[in-house]
Symmetry: C2
Subunit: 154 residues, 2 copies
DNA sequence: GTAATTGCTAAACTTAACTTTAGGTCAAGG
DNA sequence: CCTTGACCTAAAGTTAAGTTTAGCAATTAC
């Protein structure tokens, strides 16, 4: 086993915990760009471990694969990403993380508050809608939940 | 418009921000149980606003509709849920929220740490895998991410 | 050198969560 | 009364994110 020829898809799968088919799919979606060896098999850079880790985490945060692809395009194609490259990526990413954490924390606190206050409502409670433009238009739990659309497929 | 005959599906849709078709779908999945008026149209209890709010929030947390259905089955069918009913539901729910918040917070802190320490790795960094059973089996970012499986559809 | 493992492609299949369509029915306002 | 907008059902379509299958090639282990 030569030391400098990159990882096989199986090795990458074992290291990341992803299925081989998922890795091929990610390549098809443009998230990673392996090269091929003499026999036509994929070979992956060690940096791809990092890329895939990033993909998995970003997915947990609710990013779609095209979105993640766009994020990753901030990284250099040819050379191995430097510390600065990843730091840049992670910075914006930390923002998203923080936002998500804030939303969930607020949600939890509001949940506590409303159970405490006895109004029970996840919907029309004054604690949830302090500015109360109520009765105006559908305000549902959206107030609590950030602004992802309710409808998804389409 | 009679005052005591429940909400129409359109009214419910406006109040929750959901699509009418989504509400029908939720009924088909057993998440809500409207009754029918003389002409065969659905009529919804005001408590269903709360149920649907709950559904939407739980979805944001990553629960599937069958899971949510199971959660909602903790609520009484016939009578309007009391404060205690909802409190019971919300309690377990708050646990999930807290767990999620903890995971994300840890992730953020680790992200900060590794950018700071210069190892850059979202994968094999000592900060991430303090117990380091490394090279053992695929440990990827899973260590960071709680334990949701990497593969989804089946 | 040969068997077992791993990898390859293309295409079809899967699942969740809905939406859209088609062809009607019901209800509310003027 | 009659029209217009809300509702109805059933069935088919959609999207994302993969997985599975089939048939074949390259690698690795013995």
């Amino acid at each position: 086993m030569a030391l400098n020829e990159g990882l096989t898809i199986g090795a990458l799968a074992r290291r990341t915990g992803l299925a081989v088919s998922a890795i091929r799919y990610y390549e098809a979606q443009g998230l990673i760009k392996p090269w091929r060896n003499g026999g036509g098999q994929r070979r992956f850079a060690r940096a791809d471990l990092r890329r895939l880790s990033f993909v998995m985490i970003a997915q947990q945060l609710g990013y779609s694969l095209p979105e993640i692809r766009a994020l990753l395009e901030g990284l250099p194609q040819g050379r191995t990403p430097t510390k600065t490259d990843w730091a840049k990526l992670s910075a914006g990413f930390r923002e998203a993380l923080n936002a998500r954490i804030d939303t969930l924390t607020q949600l939890r606190d509001n949940l506590d508050g409303c159970i405490g206050c006895g109004c029970l409502s996840l919907e029309v409670c004054a604690l949830y809608n302090p500015k109360d433009s109520a009765a105006d238009r559908g305000q549902g739990p959206r107030y609590l939940m950030g602004d992802r659309p309710a409808t998804r497929a389409g």
